[in-house]
């Protein structure tokens, strides 16, 4: 089952396109990081997935074909919006009561248990909690809904490094416990590989890269060699990004399913995730999306699709 499927999804606000022709498939059971610089369209994409925004063109479905924002989708997806907006004048206990009343599935014991573990007092007003505690409360509300998919918009943005660590640990614990899918957006690229196993890179409203972290890392390598020869290879190979450091150049190369022969005088290294993401973000024109897949049935019997890949 796919957690999210989008086809030709675009969103325009007045005259600016926040998202353009976005086609993506996210299989269920992953922790997906949606990465991109500020203004890349991450929030728009997530709002489309939870039905807070209607697409200008295209469509988005969740959890194996449910219309985004439909009753079935809403009851199975928990959304934590950016800055975790909650009612500041309600107490934590009242906020739990509110969420319980708004949902059919609700695990009150789990919610209170988590809050007790985190040391968040039930009688405190939400507005009086720290930013980290508010984020944790929002995550608690999401987890207590027993969702199949949790979508979080910039959950880490407001948190200090310690709170970030604690928050991600809680999220991972919930994933381990329930086997749910998680999709979170972030403009923080560091430490992604510790939590996410699936990556979507969005830049200037367009999809740049999407796939499991393992595939993406296996599909790229860094070639290091003399800077003077860099331009020769950058034309011959699918180079995503060139970084020059004095006499040496580092080429981030995409390998189209087969290992490139390493040129003499050059060495190949595996790429790490942060380096990979940053390279793509620096080159908004580059993209590494899943190519056209072979269709089942007689129409796809010829192998012409392979030619399109190169």
């Amino acid at each position: 089952m796919n957690a999210v499927e989008a086809a030709g999804l675009s969103k325009r606000f007045r005259r600016t396109w926040a998202l353009r022709d976005c086609t993506l498939t996210v299989p269920a059971g992953h922790v997906v990081a949606l990465v991109g610089p500020n203004g890349a369209g991450k929030t728009t994409l997530l709002n489309l997935m939870v039905g807070l925004t209607a697409p200008t063109t295209g469509s988005v479905t969740v959890l194996g074909g449910e219309q985004a924002g439909s009753a079935a989708a809403r009851s199975a997806i928990a959304f934590v919006a950016q800055d975790a907006p909650l009612y500041g004048n309600l107490s934590v206990a009242d906020t739990l009561h509110l969420a319980r009343n708004l949902n059919l599935r609700w695990d009150q014991r789990r919610a209170t248990g988590r809050l007790a573990e985190l040391g968040i007092p039930l009688n405190r007003k939400v507005g009086k909690l720290s930013g980290g505690q508010q984020a944790q409360l929002a995550l608690t509300l999401a987890v207590a809904r027993l969702p199949e998919l949790i979508i979080l918009d910039e959950p880490l943005a407001r948190l200090d490094p310690l709170a970030r660590h604690d928050f991600m640990a809680s999220l991972m614990a919930a994933v381990a416990e329930d086997g749910l899918s998680v999709l979170f957006s972030s403009h923080v690229v560091a430490e992604l590989e510790r939590v996410a196993d699936y990556l979507i890179v969005l830049s200037r409203g367009q999809m740049q890269m999407s796939g499991t972290v393992d595939d993406l890392i296996a599909g790229h390598c860094v070639l290091t060699g003399p800077a003077a020869e860099a331009d020769i290879y950058s034309e011959r190979l699918p180079v995503v990004h060139i970084r020059r450091a004095g006499v040496q150049a580092h080429l981030l190369v995409r390998m189209n399913g087969h290992a490139e022969p390493v040129p003499p005088g050059w060495t190949a290294h595996p790429v790490d995730l942060e380096e990979l993401v940053l390279a793509y973000l620096r080159e908004p024109g580059a993209s590494a999306l899943p190519g056209p897949a072979r269709l089942p049935g007689p129409a796809a019997q010829s192998d012409t699709g392979v030619a399109m890949l190169s």
């Binding site: 925004t53 209607a54 959304f79 907006p85 708004l102």
Partner: protein, 342 residues
């Protein structure tokens, strides 16, 4: 949804309860005191203003006027202040109802739960609006009762624009209408303070138009037409529901009715406006000779009036119009919330 709505709007509703309660307390106490003072006036056979001067009527009369002080010292101002209350409800409860959610971003939490946003907004509108309407009805009934207690003989005219709005029916309708207007403005504008300002402006415009024209237009529909006779009027049976004549006289309809206009007809069916120059000789005469003059010229005086029994019909019409408008605005607010995207 009942608990949620109550919990979220508790503060605003309690604030309104305090405002209405304080006004109701002042009206209730002075109203009861005036009623008691008036009862003792009646027992002693004293009028409100006039004779018999003997036998201590004066002290009873002044006791009556003290009973309503200070609210009775400027009843027209009091009527204006009370008529503003529905607008206050619209500004402080209606406008923030949805605008605050949209402004603070909490709608992103509320609208992504299993309960649909339509149910969420409809529950808010029905429960808060219903509560306010009930409170408005009770308060309007109290205000109408107070006006009669304060002013049983002289200025008591339920038909006047201000008083017409201070009954259970119209006050409830205006409260709901102002609330719905505020909620709609909030959904549309999405920011609390501008929505409050827009609500204030639109309620003021609507209420102003009603007091100035619409109310009078409404009660001028289909009057009863009847022969009448001229009366000489003392200052004490002046009634705003009667029509005054050029010579200082006045035409009064049946009790508690509203006289809309008067005119004369001649022997051949020709009509003369009360103020037309051909009637001038009449107004220069004293009352007994006026009747003789009219008879000798074969002139008949006519009045068009709304009988007392129609008062509640017109009240219901204005109430129903307010309710209909409020329902339309509420539906529009729901539509805006459903359509809102991003």
């Amino acid at each position: 949804m009942v608990w949620i709505t109550w919990r979220q709007h508790r503060a605003a509703l309690i604030g309104m309860a305090i405002l209405l309660g304080a006004c109701a307390l002042a009206l209730g106490i002075t109203g009861l005191r005036m009623q008691a003072a008036r009862a003792s006036l009646v027992r002693s056979g004293c009028g409100l203003f006039s004779a018999p001067i003997t036998s201590g009527c004066g002290s009873l009369q002044s006791a009556y006027f003290r009973a309503g002080y200070p609210l009775t010292s400027n009843i027209s101002l009091l009527i204006i202040v009370l008529s503003i209350i529905p607008g206050v409800v619209g500004i402080f409860v209606g406008a923030p109802l949805l605008a605050r959610e949209l402004e603070a971003g909490t709608y992103r939490f509320a609208w992504t739960q299993a309960t649909s946003r339509t149910r969420w907004v409809v529950a808010k509108l029905l429960l808060v609006g219903g509560t306010l309407t009930a409170a408005g009805g009770a308060f309007g009934a109290l205000a109408g009762w107070w006006l009669l207690a304060a002013d049983p003989e002289v200025f008591a005219s339920r038909w006047q624009a201000g008083q017409f709005g201070l009954t259970a029916v119209t006050f409830a309708a205006w409260t709901l209408l102002a609330f719905a207007l505020g909620a709609f403005a909030g959904a549309l504008i999405r920011r609390t303070v501008p929505a409050m300002a827009a609500t204030a402006a639109s309620v003021a415009a609507l209420a102003g138009a009603t007091a100035w024209k619409l109310s009078n237009l409404l009660i001028s529909v289909g009057p009863v037409i009847h022969r009448a006779s001229l009366l000489t009027v003392t200052p004490f049976n002046f009634s705003p529901d009667a029509v005054s004549m050029p010579g200082g006289g006045m035409v009064i309809g049946p009790a508690s009715s509203r006289v809309l206009r008067t005119w004369f007809t001649g022997p051949h069916g020709q009509t003369y406006a009360t103020y037309s120059s051909s009637m001038n000789p009449l107004w220069n005469l004293k009352e007994p000779s006026q009747h003789a003059w009219l008879a000798s010229h074969h002139l008949t005086l006519w009045i068009a009036y709304q009988p007392a029994g129609r008062f509640w019909i017109f009240q219901s019409i204005e109430g129903a119009a307010g309710l209909l408008l409020a329902v339309l605005l509420g539906a529009a607010a729901v539509f805006v919330v459903r359509r809102k995207a991003g």
